[in-house]
């Protein structure tokens, strides 16, 4: 190509985006690891060397020992809480997508749902857990999953509804000019336009689902799961074990966040032109 109109754009854009982040990539990775190590060392210093820590703050070494010793049971409880979070996240997401689709297609549905969603968004959902547990039986995980689902529903619904309204006039004109059917327009334009919004909603919802499922365990239900264990061992003074369970909770949150963040990044790779 000898056209004068072809500047080497891709290189330029790569360079600016790298510069915009400011730090070299190895430092962005190493920096938080160093911060974490410093905190753990300071923690060991305060608890084990200086011995000035309060009773509920055990040494990281003691926590690590409990984590290894009770790995089996901690893993089982982690799986229970993670499953509740995942079931809630999926159920909430599916319901949110369907309802957002209906609201985007029919204005009256939007009018009906908007105040309802606003109401749900301001109610502290986990506070409903005792009621749900009573309704569905104290031995069922359903109450916890329902709480996670409701918490996940809100951000997914709001983002998908917004995403479904992001098609640009020039694209709509183009598809009409191409004689596309309504379904084809939905498939090649509306849906792909909404996808990044869905995944942003999903990322926000994933953290909310994990937090809700875990906190819901403090409000009763079956005697398993990370939250139940943390509450039990904190009350009975086994601080190191309680903290070992906290590590399990962090692991769940981290996995959910990383997976959904990765999905979101894949979907938002292409900036609009």
């Amino acid at each position: 190509m000898s056209a004068p109109s072809l500047p080497a754009l891709p290189d330029v854009s790569l360079r600016t985006s790298r510069a915009a982040r400011g730090l070299p990539s190895w430092l962005r990775f190493v920096a938080p690891v160093v911060v974490g190590a410093v905190i753990v060392l300071a923690w060991i210093l305060v608890v084990d060397v200086l011995k000035i820590a309060p009773r509920m703050l055990p040494s990281p070494i003691a926590i690590g020992a409990e984590l290894v010793l009770r790995a089996g049971i901690i893993w089982d409880d982690t799986v229970i809480t993670a499953t509740n979070s995942l079931v809630g996240l999926l159920a909430g997401t599916i319901v949110a997508i369907v309802l957002a689709g209906l609201a985007a297609a029919w204005r009256p549905v939007d009018g009906m749902l908007a105040p309802l969603v606003a109401a749900i968004a301001v109610v502290p959902i986990v506070a409903l857990t005792p009621i749900l547990n009573t309704m569905f039986g104290a031995s069922s995980q359903f109450g916890r999953q329902a709480v996670a689902a409701i918490a996940a529903f809100i951000p997914v619904f709001l983002n998908v509804l917004r995403g479904l309204r992001q098609t640009r006039p020039v694209h709509r004109d183009l598809l009409r000019a191409s004689g596309a059917t309504g379904f084809q327009t939905f498939r090649v334009l509306t849906l792909p336009s909404a996808l990044p919004y869905l995944l942003t909603g999903l990322r926000i919802a994933s953290s909310l689902a994990v937090i809700s499922a875990l906190v819901a365990e403090y409000f009763g239900g079956p005697s398993d799961g990370i939250g139940t264990a943390i509450a039990t061992y904190a009350k009975s003074g086994r601080a190191a074990l309680a903290w070992a369970y906290v590590a399990g909770g962090i692991a769940i949150g981290l996995v959910f966040f990383l997976v959904t963040s990765l999905l979101e990044r894949l979907a938002t790779r292409r900036t609009p032109v």
Partner: protein, 274 residues
Amino acid sequence: MTPTDETRGATAPAPAVRARGVGKTFAATGGEVLALTGVDLEVAAGEFVSLIGPSGCGKSTLLRLVADLDQASAGELEVFGKTPQKARVDQDYGIAFQQAGLLPWRTVAGNISLPLELHRMGRAERDERVAQLAGLVGLSEFVDRYPDQLSGGMQQRVAIARALAENPRLLLMDEPFGALDEMTREYLQSELARIASETGAAVVFVTHSIPEAVYLSDRVVVMSPRPGRITDVIETGFGEERPEGLRESEAYFAKVTAVREALHGSPVERANER
């Protein structure tokens, strides 16, 4: 393309566009806007016609009526002897706008092949056609790029290739080079002149630029606003070819002057432009 062949076989081929007394009013807040009135225009098959005029004189509106993106409120409008709606469904025209309007999540090839996919062309045939179109607009090496990796001029070339995908007999273009720098613009004008003569398609080309209209067109249609209407039609008479020297020729300058005078004809319009 069967309906095409039927029409071609007829003794008097239908013109690409025939407008008689076409008008368009938009319902707007605080009354109606008369965007277009009494438009009579015939664009022959294979002819290159530019619409030029100040902002708001209804150029885009006229193009959108032809494309069946809006409906005329008065008069008769035919595209190859059919209603605009039938012509749109039959894919008799291809269209390009000032914004390239590429789908950012599709590659260059994916964008060019979009109309072909919508009309269920087979995979192999489609790939072949896309390669051919990419070559036509000089983007063969860029088919796997995404739109955000292309310059504005390259994006616009993708849009033109996409408009040509179905081999339309009519190309509708609304200021396609309006957002480009002068160098790219002149380069793409030459490319478009070549493509138009190679494909034999009629072109209705909206522009703000007098030199652009003169260089490209067989006829320049001059419009004026409030209400939007056609005030003058100027034939360039340059013939098929657009040789390098045309932009510097006497004949070219004479036509530029003629169009400029037609545009600035009435003192009212001059006041509007200030």
